[in-house]
Assembly symmetry: C2
Homo-oligomer: 332 residues x 2
């Protein structure tokens, strides 16, 4: 049976050191206000007693808790972990802790989490939020907010411009001789999906080739696999998928039909989350999710320090990462 020691308080330290409570407090927060000897005496007493400042009490009186919240729609989607990791690292540099929320792609859950986080965090980063514009603005009225992959003016936001990478993807395919390309789409409410689809169309029409959109509802392996029939029905010789998971599904679906990649068909993914760890290595559009996480936290901390909301719109461009699932269009 383990017994827990309960906390030493500032009063106990004060008594031990023979000073007022306020002096102990200042020894920790603003030692320059006290004489060096007093500080040392207090610190020694504190150390001896194992005193650790109570975070909650401090937060109550200062209003600062040193926490920020990060809410994502789906941790299990490999797009997010690197972002979370980078956000954490950046927060850590300023001694902030991260509260993580997972919404399961559910706006209700997201709303609930925001409510529960508010009050114990000083600010929030919403990544790929599934909330309505109104809800987001409502929340932004209550606490500092930074968005990732959501474009609402007046609210600081970091946008990963997958458009630039998708454009490169189309150009690359066209250069390889493809004249009809399928786009296997993602969730219709997703900002990224809209962005990618319109970038596909714009690039294709600029180059005089055709794009056919094949719906896939959810970004997942199975969606991609199931979409293969529809893809082939369009007569396309290459496909760009909404994300790498979907692209892997497409790869599997093609293999089942004995269509060889890249000889007979070229496939490109997005977000580059699996490309480097699978075989054959998937050609994909880079994601920059790590930068996004880092920058979002940076912006948030900056807002907190300056107490001002700047209308920042930080755009990260993406590029095509060429690997082994694209090749010259052979037949016809």
């Amino acid at each position: 049976m383990i017994k827990r020691t309960k906390g030493v308080t500032i009063s106990q330290v004060a008594e031990a050191a023979g000073v007022a409570r306020s002096s102990v407090s200042r020894a920790f927060t603003r030692p320059d206000m006290l004489s060096p000897e007093t500080v040392e005496r207090i610190m020694k007493a504190a150390e001896a007693m194992g005193y650790v400042p109570n975070h909650t009490a401090r937060a109550l009186s200062t209003g600062r808790h040193g926490n920020i919240g990060l809410i994502v729609p789906d941790i299990a989607n490999p797009f997010f972990p690197p972002m979370i990791q980078a956000a954490q690292l950046e927060a850590d540099r300023s001694d902030f802790c991260i509260f993580l929320g997972n919404t399961e792609e559910n706006p209700k859950q997201e709303d609930k989490l925001v409510g529960r986080f508010a009050g114990q965090v000083e600010g929030l980063v919403l990544a790929s939020s599934r909330l309505s514009d109104e809800r987001i603005r409502a929340h932004a009225g209550k606490l500092p907010l930074v968005l990732i992959n959501r474009d609402l003016d007046g609210i600081p936001r970091v946008l990963i411009d997958s458009g630039s990478g998708v454009r490169e993807a189309v150009e690359h395919l066209v250069k390889l001789g493809h004249r009809k390309i399928a786009y296997v789409s993602g969730p219709s409410t997703s900002w990224s999906n809209k962005q990618r689809r319109s970038a596909m169309r714009a690039a294709a029409s600029g180059l005089g080739v055709a794009v056919e959109t094949v719906p896939a509802v959810l970004p997942s392996y199975n969606s991609g696999r199931n979409a293969v029939g529809a893809i082939l029905a369009t007569g396309a010789t290459a496909a760009v998928a909404f994300d790498d998971l979907t692209a892997q599904g497409v790869l599997a679906g093609l293999a089942e039909k004995s269509i060889s990649v890249p000889l007979d068909f070229s496939v490109i993914g997005c977000d580059d989350v699996l490309g480097a760890v699978t075989y054959p290595a998937l050609t994909s559009v880079s994601n920059r999710s790590m930068e996004a996480g880092r920058v979002a936290v940076f912006l948030l901390l900056d807002m907190l320090q300056s107490r001002a909301v700047r209308d920042v719109r930080y755009v990260l461009e993406t590029h095509l990462v060429m690997r082994e699932t694209t090749a010259l269009q052979s037949k016809n």
Copy 2:
């Protein structure tokens, strides 16, 4: 420029409703102590003013914050996100929030995070901790702790027994005719690695076949790829890798040498994190990390409620998931 509304307090609600502060407090925490009419009046006033209880103040006076911390060595390792997700879901059922910490596989960082979390969480889950036994025990003396994949008696722990799955893997390979099997190992400090390696040896010697351990330092794609030379040098006809990432690397390395899988060589991964989303589908040992996350949080919440530390040792067995990277040993 957005302006933020600052919080409504219990005193303001009390005044508006014409009652004492304590009554407002009770209306929210123990409404049965008040007459229904009073509760309704208070609630109406609170609603009208947009009152939300201050989490920090409540935590200060009750000592309960409704948060638990979850610390993992590497979010980017696909083994952990499902675990985090499941933990979050379980915590949510009891209205707890999750603090997430990422240690970058660094014990120092882990210690630091534990220190920073303590004081704002009521308990902690340490997954695959890289801390020394002493440090873990020291922390467990200060706050409720549950371990995942770490076996320290006296401290509640959830263990994923990959041994059972690895045993099945070896049996499967032997049944397919393999007589010499390589084990591509993971980090030497890892509890799971030790467990898997010894399960390999035990199973192999029980069946009268040989196991050769090939070191791979880090669990990663590149480690696996680089290990291929050493694997082939042992004369093995099949390999079991420490995890799926490593296994994918092995797959890639074999492909580079034009060794076809599974015709010429069989490969099995562990943790089953990539098997279902890649092509060819990887045969792997199931991970049960979701159950582990769920159970760990469940145990922790149970400890918090009962205020007792039980010496729980919860073991989750794993199994072989057969897919397409294993086949009958052909040559020789």
